[in-house]
Subunit: 385 residues, 2 copies
């Protein structure tokens, strides 16, 4: 892998990442469900459906090349042509992501001007520089690594991610990439990625907004392909893969725009797991809940409100709310004499735990979010200027 500085938007930093893969690398992807997805997202979906192999990934930061019409398509085609030509591979073995401002056509020449240099440099880069090059409003680079064994052989899983706003499920983070030297068939890799995304990137939210560019991709370069995800030899790998995705997803939440708290919300007792997730996200996305936590105010009435507005079954008179391990409500009202001071002390910390049992069934889900602060307004009321 290698990085370069195009100067397209950012000065004095790398903003272009190129990763090449050996022949035969498999690729999987999960993308935004936005109805106005960006051109690069459409391209990756198309290439995934055509070929099942990847030779290179190219990511630029600062311009999302989203909602740029035919001109945006042409700019993307130029970069794909340039890179596939340089690497001598098929066009559909190239995967592209762009992140940044929406609505400005990508200046492809600023990317292609660096193509020779970046390809010549591919042996020189590392994950730290790669994680840095894809950032936009992030305040820190995000990465994780796990080493496990498959049939006695050590394999590595490495991931990088970026994103701190417009983070909401379907898909969550704007960009995340996982690389492994394990060998998995495309089908097994896609199934694994989908499964792990549901309990990680699709279980986080910063501001409920969903990007046009969200892309989570996985690349596996091992030569011996395991085709069955449920093969017992994959058990350790599968768990580590899920753990790594969750780690990356949590890093994105911790870097949520203006975030001062990391909030874990667990809902139990719902009709089913789907309903539990809907309720958990209703709490996690409520501006009133998020501002109360920013204010370190044990205003649990707002949690009751958010449960109510979710529209899923909940028994008001059995509802239990636990904040930082302390039960604050039971039997449809405050627990008499509950220790509000202890509750407030918990809220003064950085890691906030909220557990809610809605008293109707066995459904359960956990989601993660951050608080809503003045910092969020600062960042977003003046992003483009």
């Amino acid at each position: 892998m290698a990085t370069a500085a195009t100067g397209m938007k950012y000065q004095d930093r790398d903003d272009l990442l190129c990763v090449s893969f050996p022949h035969g690398a498999t690729v999987a992807g999960v993308f935004t469900r936005s109805r106005t997805a960006s051109a690069p997202v459409d391209l990756c979906r198309k290439h995934l459906s055509l070929g099942k192999k990847a030779r290179a990934l190219l990511v630029n930061a600062g311009n999302a090349n989203a909602f740029t019409g035919k001109a945006g398509d042409r700019a993307m085609a130029m970069t794909v042509d340039s890179l596939s030509g340089k690497l001598g591979c098929a066009r559909n073995e190239i995967y592209i992501s762009s992140t940044g401002v929406i609505g400005e056509v990508l200046e492809a020449d600023k990317i292609t001007a660096h193509m020779d240099a970046i390809v010549d440099d591919l042996s020189g880069g590392g994950f730290a520089a790669a994680a840095q090059a894809i950032l936009t409003t992030d305040t820190f680079a995000k990465g994780a690594v796990r080493r496990v064994h498959i049939n006695g052989t050590e394999v590595t899983i490495c991931g990088i991610a970026k994103g701190s706003g417009m983070i909401a499920p379907d898909m969550a983070t704007m960009l995340a990439y996982v690389f492994t030297d394990a060998g998995l068939s495309q089908h097994a890799l896609q199934s694994l990625l989908k499964e792990a995304a549901d309990s990680s990137f699709n279980a986080i939210t910063v501001d409920s907004d969903t990007s046009t560019s969200d892309s989570l991709m996985a690349f596996a370069t091992g030569q011996t392909e395991i085709t069955d995800l449920h093969d017992p030899c994959l058990a350790e790998f599968r768990a580590a893969f899920q753990d790594l995705l969750l780690d990356l997803a949590h890093q994105v939440v911790r870097d949520g725009e203006g975030a001062s708290k990391f909030i874990t919300i667990t809902v139990s007792g719902a009709e089913d797991d789907r309903a539990a997730k809907v309720i958990a996200f209703s709490i996690a996305n409520s501006p009133l809940v998020k501002t109360a936590i920013a204010g370190e105010d044990a205003n649990w009435g707002r949690i009751v409100m958010a449960v109510g507005k979710a529209g899923e079954a909940a028994d008001r008179d059995k509802l239990e709310i636990i904040i930082g391990g302390q039960k604050v409500t039971a039997f449809g009202m405050a627990v008499p004499g509950y220790d509000e001071a202890a509750c407030t002390a918990h809220l003064k910390g950085q890691d906030i735990d909220i557990t809610v049992d809605v008293g109707v069934g066995e459904g359960q889900a956990t989601v993660w979010t951050c608080d809503l602060t003045h910092g969020y307004i600062d960042i977003n009321a003046d992003y483009r200027s």
Copy 2:
């Protein structure tokens, strides 16, 4: 009507409103769809289903008596008993609303202590004092009046409302009451209220949160009851009633917590009217759109994002966005050479108009919202303290 100061939460202001109606007044109501609705909401729904007549409305501000379990039910029963005893009417002719903090049991004795005085004073009050008495975090009292003719006789429609946070559809404002000396059957009044709510209170949002206490009620005191809402003699009245509800709903948005802009969002070209409303609310509730407008930044890419995340059909390559009368996008990209300065000038005003055509059908809807500012964080990160 009359008002009184209970001192329950607020000092030096009236916080209790009582309105009495002559025998035979009809009543209609539309309430929150929250699954954790407050005790007073449950009571109003029950009374509406039992009797169809109202003798009095009692509203207190500062305590929502929501999520207060059996103790909350008892407190409410005490106030109902006290008022129905005093007026000599059936319990189910009494309607109650409570607004304010969730989760603290209502101190009923502080209300019943004023019952004699407030009932004796019923001939003395006016709408201005009534509109003041029901406020919580509002910064101004909200009211509207219309005078029209039914069969040559002048009738009056008077409305008051409160609410500035937790304002989102189903229902929208926390509390709103409409009074008229026209005569309508309960069924006609309920149909009229439902119809007018859909295009007014159910078409506004401040922060996407939904209160446990939202109540919109209408009372008609005329002796000659018109039973058919579509009777031609009601045409002028019906239009004025809708106009008054929209007026009140707009006042609530203008007083949105921390609001500095009043935003009108019209979506056309959607699959149907329902889809258009979903897309319009997706734009109206997007924190990124709301902060961009707060920052007077013509970042229309965020509008594209919000259209995409709504999940309804939209043709990215036909999407048109018009800000302040100026077309900024067409054919899936920015209009070449569009006047961003004029667009920014519009955003510097107080009334912002956004029109979006999604290019797939004939569906249309308009919703209203406000921007998301530091003021919202100030108010909500420290509301209870």
